[in-house]
Amino acid sequence: MRLPAPRGPISTALFACLSGEPGPVPSQLTELVDALQETTADARSDEDVQISLWTCYGLTYAGFDGVDERWEWRPSLLAVRGALEAVFERDVLAEVRLPEDLTPEKVPAFLMDVCGRPPTAFLKFMQKNATLEQFKELVITRSIDALHEGDAHTWAIPRVTGRAKSALIEIQADEYGGGMPGRSHAELYAILMSELDLDPEYGAYIEQIPAAALGLHNLRSMFGLQHRWRGGILGNLAATEIGSSLINRHFSEGLARLGGSKRARWFYDEHILADAVHEQLVAHDVCGAFVADYPAEWDRVVIGALATLNVRALFASSVVDPWAAGVTSLRELATV
């Protein structure tokens, strides 16, 4: 994969830097990211911040053509990533409130409740009214996250022990198709894209994908890559799995209405059954066991789940609002 096009001064400086030898980063880049606390009002929808963060994390996934792999752990670049993360974390948590009466024992039931409320209007629209073009737009925007489905949560495995680890592994094994080649959920998403005549290569549509969609993936990566957010990545998994069966059923029925093949719908249909299992395991056996075994970190699980719901709601608006206005939710290539 090639480096994406920059979307502002930070990504311009960052990408120029990544094309060279690993070393110090230009002071101009450091100054830009250090000023972000003042210069960005909302990092969740800041195109320059999100594409920069996505690229920093990309070094830890598949990397980029022409970018020296040693950049991944270069302290100068980690400092840039840290400044980007700080402002993203600030804005992701700005609206998150831990309920006052919540106790660790109530966490599984709380997660089932708060994460299980489906975005009904959006789902009904996808099921009954969306055009094929709109459906494909949604598939494109979600691709930046779905083609890496499971990966950020796998980083949590070495960070936890005991019952939570066992249950997490049971979920993750399913995410990767039980080890059967071609059956991982990411591969099923690639099949969905191919069936819709879309390019399933990761990052193929990166220039068209808006900040809010990148934010979904960046939040997982930020939680997954940091030990202090190990509770948060489990909460993120809870917000992903709980209620997912219903969401995927609506998508499958919407795609069937539009003439999508059974093979195209495989990704959604697989999630209806798989996530009916996963939502129980993640609420009770992963998160419930984690808060019992790591009592000092119980609030992190809830904050991680609520932050995920917050970012997901922003993502949904970034898709639905343009559609309501009669325009595409994708970034126009001409303006890139």
Binding site: G116, G178, S245, L246, L273, A276
Partner: protein, 69 residues
Amino acid sequence: MLDDQPSVEITVYENGPVIVRGAYKLQDRDRKEIDPGRATIALCRCGLSALKPFCDGNHALRGTARSAL
């Protein structure tokens, strides 16, 4: 199994399905095997699933009123 764990484990989840894992065989009334497509399965307990015998998360539509389940 090396220890005294049972070969099949059936776990009841409050307000949710039963989760079955282990060396089970799933079959219909005519003893025809049903392929679950995965190792660990969730079986519907509320009757609302459109994919019975499997759970499809539909119990959530009924909300938390069914705490007796």
